[in-house]
């Protein structure tokens, strides 16, 4: 659901087919009958943007039919926590909403605590104010009838999906959910994922082999680049970026705010201080808060992709670096993002190809070069096998890529480019006595004295050193908060435990049990392959499913044993204090069924920003906590003018904005045209035949494409009304061997209430023959 692994992660699908051969069932839920659907035992369509309705109904189905893993729910989730009386829900809104600010006061959603400050619990789950009962009540409204009216799913199919998946509540069975951007790219994307988590926790499917919620990342190193702090709100290893507020104005205050009182994150001070030591070396001392003040502080506001481009469009930015990214095709409201680049004074594009973004100023782009004053620097990068380094896959395996050939022509590795630039900047700021230059002067850059960097030094800095002895740190439990250790990214600490031993280079492909391959590459954290695997055993340490046991408590050895690195303390007996703690990183040490987010602690269905129907669940039409970007450059479409629901997706043969694949002759030939898929019924209404050229318009723009008339889309009946949906690939632009119109010229600047990921997957359009 929300992913199409048969086409977009094809090799992963091999394992689904293997599972099917072994008696497993594949369930596919998608607005379009995809190639994944074609291999499924059960397929159910749903209208784009109605995932919470669909999943809320499944949560309700599991509870009403007692298809939950009770022991797991009581032991490992926060189902038993009592919530304060200030929390309530009514007609689409939780308590504490400020309509003017479109914000909630989350203090009203706290747990009840006793005199000692401990959370009050009711393990019988009968108290009407416990999370379980509140959740049960919240989702009672999600009946099969109501859900199917909103999603457009045939009721019999819906019940078949619910029955099939909820059967995994049996402790002897496991179920996994594989999702991708079909889940996240919505104004309710975060709560879509939360709905998966709630369902999986109720079924006891997290932390068990074959279970989990699998984020199928779209790029080879989305996992790694996120782990390494390339989003505005996170430093490396998911440590928060400090904010420019009085409560976080010192290292001590900041750590007080961001360090939870429970679970493994209590060690955050050790990880942050070690990070600061990696950033600033000897300039990070106890007396200067280990350089905490050198770090840039963000305001408590949004700096994410859409906000960034809105600010660029408003002329508030001077310059930008584009590291192998192509927002003129891949960004939302792409025509506006192209214009925004023209407001920069300078831009640096690092890529293998001349992309639509690096050439945004050209006539081909529809621009008038004379009018664009942006100075553009194009730096040719080499491909992944013309250099060496590691990438982290969706399973967090950090795998080494060796260099097969020297970079083609004058192209260079990004590592070298960054290094060369850093050396020049270091030189430029050398000797300055200005206070504003101090932070940059304090930053260490010890990756080699010449323009060619030593990647081994980078790898070791990431792992971390004992700053006293100069030895590599063996594992992150050894990190300290007194400045005696450094680590560029604590979650990776341990991949390089001693000189000459970079574990990401391991290639022993012997199965060490349960297909974990523990001696192949390195998986963070500490080579663990299944996160929260403690939850695969009952509180006494006995596997819920002996047949597929992954770890267990070995009483004779007084230690955890098995086929994976146990989560977390190997010697902690189940009977010891904390010995039955399964979720050490969630703040509560429990799997959180109730989890405050910007729009509430439980998922609630809201319609997409642009929708053809009224919200049937409440009078709140859209997510009450999303930020709305006003302005003539970002108009909102209505269903009178644009009655058709549209979504975007990828094909096997192309990748993302197409920069790589439209420049690759074989792939360019396989899919040479921009196309949309439309149902036979809509095609008939509009007089469109297969392979006709059509125009697709939205409130933002209009594009041309070929129509593929197909049975893969079917009209929905939503609340008694016929609603059509179309789909389109987003791989095309005006550069490359093959060219075509960009789907993102149609999409709006609107994002999720927590992550601000754009709502690419549900917007309104109209279609006509060209």
């Amino acid at each position: 659901m929300g992913g199409n692994p048969a086409e977009n992660h094809p090799i992963s699908f091999k394992y689904l087919l293997k599972a099917k051969q072994n008696g497993g069932k594949i369930v596919s839920v998608d607005p379009r009958f995809t190639r994944s659907s074609s291999q499924a035992d059960v397929y159910a369509p749903l209208r784009s943007g109605t995932d919470i309705a669909f999943l809320g109904g499944m949560i309700n189905y599991a509870i009403q039919n007692d298809m939950i893993h009770k022991d797991y729910v009581v032991s490992y989730t926060n189902a038993s926590f009592i919530v304060e009386d200030t929390f309530s829900y009514e007609d689409g809104l939780f308590s504490g909403y400020d309509a003017e600010k479109r914000k909630y006061d989350q203090k009203q959603w706290k747990y009840k605590t006793d005199a000692e400050g401990k959370t009050v619990v009711d393990k019988t789950l009968q108290n009407p104010r416990c999370v379980y009962q509140l959740m049960k009540k919240h989702f009672e409204r999600y009946t099969v009838e109501k859900v199917c009216e909103v999603t457009g799913t045939p009721q019999d199919k819906y019940i078949e999906v619910a029955k099939t998946f909820c059967a995994t509540a049996d402790p002897k069975k496991a179920g996994t959910i594989m999702y991708a951007m079909g889940t996240t790219q919505h104004t309710v994307g975060t709560q879509n994922v939360r709905s998966f988590a709630i369902l999986q926790l109720l079924l006891g499917n997290i932390g068990v082999p074959g279970g989990g919620v699998q984020a199928l990342r779209g790029e080879s190193n989305v996992q790694g680049s996120t782990d390494f702090g390339l989003l505005f709100g996170n430093l490396t290893g998911y440590i928060e970026v400090p904010q420019a507020v009085a409560e976080q104005a010192s290292l001590e205050k900041f750590l007080g705010v961001v360090t939870p009182k429970l679970g493994y994150w209590v060690n955050k001070p050790k990880f942050l201080v070690s990070f600061l030591k990696a950033m600033y070396g000897k300039s990070a001392t106890k007396d200067n808060e280990f350089g905490f003040q050198f770090l840039p502080k963000i305001d408590p506001k949004d700096y994410s992709h859409i906000a960034l481009f809105e600010n660029m469009y408003a002329g508030n930015l001077d310059g930008a670096f584009l590291w192998g990214t192509n927002p003129v095709v891949g960004g939302p409201n792409a025509l506006v993002e192209k214009q925004a680049l023209g407001k920069l004074k300078w831009m640096v594009a690092v890529d293998l190809w001349e992309t639509e973004s690096s050439s945004f100023w050209q006539k081909e782009a529809g621009s008038n070069p004379e009018d664009i004053q942006t100075e553009v620097f194009f730096l040719p990068a080499c491909s992944s096998y013309e250099k060496e380094g590691t990438v982290s896959n969706s399973g967090r395996w950090m795998q080494y890529r060796w260099q097969a050939i020297k970079p083609k022509g004058d192209s260079k590795a990004d590592l070298e480019i960054v290094h060369m630039l850093a050396r020049r900047l270091k030189e430029a700021y050398k000797g300055s006595t200005k206070p504003e230059d101090k932070p940059f002067q304090a930053m260490t850059w010890e990756f080699g004295e010449h323009d060619h960097p030593d990647i081994d030094l980078v790898a070791k800095e990431i792992n971390g050193y004992d700053t006293v002895t100069g030895k590599l740190v063996a594992k992150f439990p050894d990190l300290k908060d007194d400045g005696t250790t450094s680590s560029g990214n604590w979650i990776y600490c341990g991949f390089y435990p001693e000189e000459g031993k970079n574990l990401s280079q391991r290639r022993d492909n012997k199965d060490t049990g349960m297909s974990n391959f523990l001696n192949w590459s390195f998986s963070w954290p500490v080579n663990r392959r299944i996160l929260y695997n403690r939850a695969s055993c009952d509180p006494s340490g006995k596997p819920y499913n002996e047949k597929n046991a992954i770890i267990w408590w070995d009483e004779s050895a007084k230690a955890w044993g098995g086929y994976d690195v146990p989560d977390f303390n190997k010697l902690l007996a189940p009977s010891d204090e904390g010995g039955a703690t399964a979720f050490m990183m969630t703040g509560t040490t429990k799997g959180n069924l109730f989890a405050p987010r910007n729009e509430g602690p439980f998922p609630e269905h809201y319609e997409p920003f642009e929708s053809p129907v009224q919200n049937a669940f409440s009078s709140q039409q859209i997510n009450p906590a999303i930020k709305i970007w006003d302005g003539d450059h970002n108009p909102r479409g209505n269903s009178e003018k644009f009655p058709i629901v549209a979504t975007t997706y990828r094909m096997s043969e192309h990748w993302q904005s197409g920069a790589m694949t439209r420049n690759t002759p074989w792939l360019a030939e396989l899919v040479p045209h921009m196309l949309i898929e439309i149902s036979e019924e809509l095609a008939k209404d509009k007089g469109i035949k297969d392979k006709d050229k059509v125009k697709i318009s939205s409130a933002r723009g209009e594009i041309e494409a070929y129509a593929v008339v197909t049975k893969r889309f079917k009209p929905y009946t939503i609340l008694g009304k016929t609603v059509h949906q179309i789909g389109m690939i987003w791989h095309f632009g005006y550069k490359g061997i093959v060219t075509g119109a960009s789907a993102n010229n149609l999409t709006p600047h609107i994002g999720d209430a927590n992550t601000n990921i754009p709502e690419y997957k549900a917007f309104l359009c109209d279609v006509r023959r060209a």
Binding site: E219, L231, S304, L322, E375, F377, V391, K406, S411
Partner: protein, 187 residues
Amino acid sequence: MNVSRRQFLKLSGATAATLALVELGFNENEVKAKSKDFKIAELKPTPTICPYCSVGCGILVYATDNDVVYTEGDPDHPINQGSLCSKGTSIRQLYTSEKRMLKPLYRAPGSSKWEEKEWGWMLDKIAERVKESRDNSFQIAKDGITVNRTEAIASLGGAALDNEETYVIQKLMRGLGLTYIEHQARI
């Protein structure tokens, strides 16, 4: 599509490969006898990981000093066990594609064309621009709170880069004081 079938074959070098296979026919002994003539017989494969999706399939690259001769799924890799999808199969062309950019290019304000430049010239100029923008916009404090930042420069992308590269990007950018740091996980 902007290329004809014939151009396509020329571009990809598929003609030679096809002929070679035809010549060999399907006689197994003949294949064995001829295999020493395969270019890759003399080459040592270099293991890499597919640059496309996040499954993390292994690929072997057979290269000479100045050409990528052949690539194939890594049969020893526990995830893909030798198999690849259409994208993974085509990674040789990331090297051989005529569309690869091989020189640094500069576009002056208002200009309608690229100019070839040397690396040193480009990096010196970029460093100058970064310094100007940073120095003109740098904030040491806001409302009495130390912020040490510039909000005039953005860093975008990185999801297709190596971990080591993403680490040095975040280090340099945060070192300079950037707050606008984003990559493809968001979009």
